[in-house]
């Protein structure tokens, strides 16, 4: 009595409910508070930016997979995550056509050309931003004052710029920094809203504490050593979004816990080096990209020792 009712699977016969798309969904959910915040601070235009970015990412992925005759897997949500994160690191009044180019670069150039999900070596959103910053330096550095979005012309320097160039403009208060009422990129300004998302990801075990914690702590310690205002250093620029959402990207971060801590410390050091002595006011983007390059090396030296290898 053979039965052909079911397929034969190998063990294990039970699986966790975790799936790739569920993880992506959690990341998207975790970004919603910051998204709402950004609309409040910078106006409805940022929604257009986010929307164009997501559409550009999904379309690029779809196009590539069709062109290369690969399985179309735009449904796993990873392109949406890239789209949102990319929009979050753009200035609030960025022209939409630049956003579209950036989304295309992030997916086509940085992700799919390297083999698609799980194979890219650089963070797609940050790499696209870095390319755009070099290509369109004026548009990419035009920041506006919060809650003044009805008057488009007013630009306002970011807190990091104020601190670095010591220009005569008052810094936003700590409270403003904390809730996000400061000039900066679309999604990076609100510490509290990003923390809510970050904690959600930690609770859902999508990310572990190792990278965000070691990254932020390193920046904090270096700020203390070099007599910078620690709280401003932590809450300004893209440190919070970088530490919780960018540096923790699975593919482009080390696989072991030890490696993750080394990665976080490295990101922290480079961020601080750029902020203090580099020519840019902000270093989060480049520090993460730089550490992305070192991931294979870190992995190599932090591999776990197999059970029973101790003498």
């Amino acid at each position: 009595m053979k039965n052909n009712l079911c397929k034969i699977y190998s063990s294990p016969h039970i699986h966790s409910s975790e799936t790739t798309s569920k993880i992506m969904l959690y990341v998207i959910i975790s970004l919603i508070p910051a998204m709402i915040g950004s609309v409040y601070f910078f106006g409805f235009y940022v929604l257009k930016v986010i929307f164009v970015s997501i559409i550009s990412c999904i379309l690029s992925e779809f196009l590539f997979q069709i062109l290369m005759r690969k399985d179309v897997r735009i449904y796993d949500g990873s392109a949406v995550v890239t789209g949102i994160l990319f929009a979050f690191v753009l200035p609030p009044r960025i022209p939409l056509w630049i956003v579209a180019i950036g989304g295309f670069l992030a997916i086509f150039l940085v992700k799919e050309l390297f083999g698609g999900i799980g194979f890219n070596i650089f963070n797609p959103a940050l790499t696209a931003r870095a390319i755009l910053l070099a290509s369109y330096p004026v548009e990419m550095t035009k920041f506006i004052n919060v809650l003044d979005y009805r008057v488009d012309a007013i630009t306002s320097p970011t807190p990091l710029f104020i601190m670095k160039e010591k220009i005569s403009q008052s810094l936003p208060s700590l409270w403003q920094m904390f809730i996000g009422a400061r000039s900066g990129c679309i999604g990076e300004t609100s510490t509290i809203l990003l923390l809510i998302g970050g904690i959600f990801l930690l609770l859902k075990r999508v990310i572990t504490w190792h990278i965000p914690f070691s990254y932020i702590l390193t920046v904090a310690i270096l700020s203390l050593i070099f007599k910078q205002n620690m709280l401003y250093q932590i809450m300004s620029g893209g440190l919070i979004i970088g530490a919780f959402f960018m540096a923790t990207d699975y593919v482009t971060s080390p696989i072991t816990r030890k490696g993750k801590i080394i990665f976080g410390i490295g990101c922290g050091i480079i961020t601080f080096l750029i902020r203090k002595w580099g020519s840019y006011p902000e270093g989060v983007c480049y520090s993460i990209l730089f550490m992305n390059m070192l991931v294979p090396l870190i992995n190599r030296y932090t591999l776990p020792k197999k059970f029973g290898s101790k003498k």
Binding site: I14, H15, K306
Partner: protein, 431 residues
Amino acid sequence: MFKGGIKLLDFKSLSKNEPIEEFEYPEKVIIPLSQHTGSPAKPVVKKGDYVVEGQIIGEITGFISSYIHSSVSGKVIDIIPWDLPTGRKSLSVIIESDGERKSIEKKERNWLALSSEEIIDIVRESGIVGLGGAAFPTHVKLTVPPGKKADFVIINGCECEPFLTCDYRILKECIDEVIEGIQIICKATNVKKAFIGIESNKIDLIPVLNNSIKNLKIYVEIEIKILPTKYPQGSEKHLIKSILNREVPSGGLPIDVGCIVFNVQTVLAIKRAVCNGIPLTERVLTCTGLVGTPKNLKVKIGTPISKILSYCNGELKYGRKLVTGGPMMGIQIYDLETPVIKGTTGLILLPEEDLPEEIQPCIRCGKCIEVCPMFLLPSEIGRYAEFGRFDKCENLNVFDCIECGCCSYICPAKRPLVDFIKCAKFKLRKK
């Protein structure tokens, strides 16, 4: 406590409170001659022979091998290859029972009067193998190799696989016999101290165990260890790590760190063989999952699985799958006429899972590496195996994998990591 591993829903309450029930005397049994690790037994009966319960029908063919006994009285109707639950085929003796339950003469013995060699001989002739699933011949384990010394005997009562409750029921119902069995093992291996390791979800056994130890005459020291409920706590290596903090060296055996580990049912089988002269012809298994009435059953070796399934009101229909052993390491059955063998710990009817048809790409979340109790890199091994680079798998210590299934379980991309690993091992061994 060991690093890695996963917490699982245990589903043990389905059958936990069902007392062990004797399953009906089978009309026909299929007894494979290769139920154990090692070389298959050689048949010593012919077609048409009359055999009784406990009679030897397969003879040992090497040191790592085992005797096979008839589990019923009746006539041998055929000796043909048959599918095993393990997925392999083995020459099997098919016996039609006459229902008279005739048995060999059972010799009662006092184990205190027996020497170590005599005990090991009895265990070998009784065809006892590890009943926790791996079916490693027990007499081999009991024979401490020259130059090695056993410090401790460890009794594995963890039963870390979800669903299974047969070992729990054995400890609850036959504890006195188990305690006696432990002492027999200690005598055979010349060990003074034994541990019983149980997971914290079976904490209600503690008074039962303590009572038994208090009331019986005990010749060795027996200590009960409560271990955290974490899969794979019942893996030999991890059990030793948890109890003694000793790590079995890679490629080594528990005896390399002075331990010998036995499953509780094996201990019971040893006691019954040595004291009561009963060879291994039956075992207790758990039939559970989506069946109507989950049960713990004492089943004759060779009973077809279909009989047990229908007795427990289970039906294998569309959208379900039947697994022997636990859900983490068990093997899916495709033929219901497959017999119960010595290593069959359970029979579980599970819902078919909604797994992707095609292999999905690894997203490098690193969860498999975090849960791997052997500290390997399942994701990397999987990536290499997927593209046929088995040489790389070997460098990544694929042979240290115990195939516990934690990595496949946790993988968000649902990559069949254990399949990859098994495939790599197979290809490398063939080379």
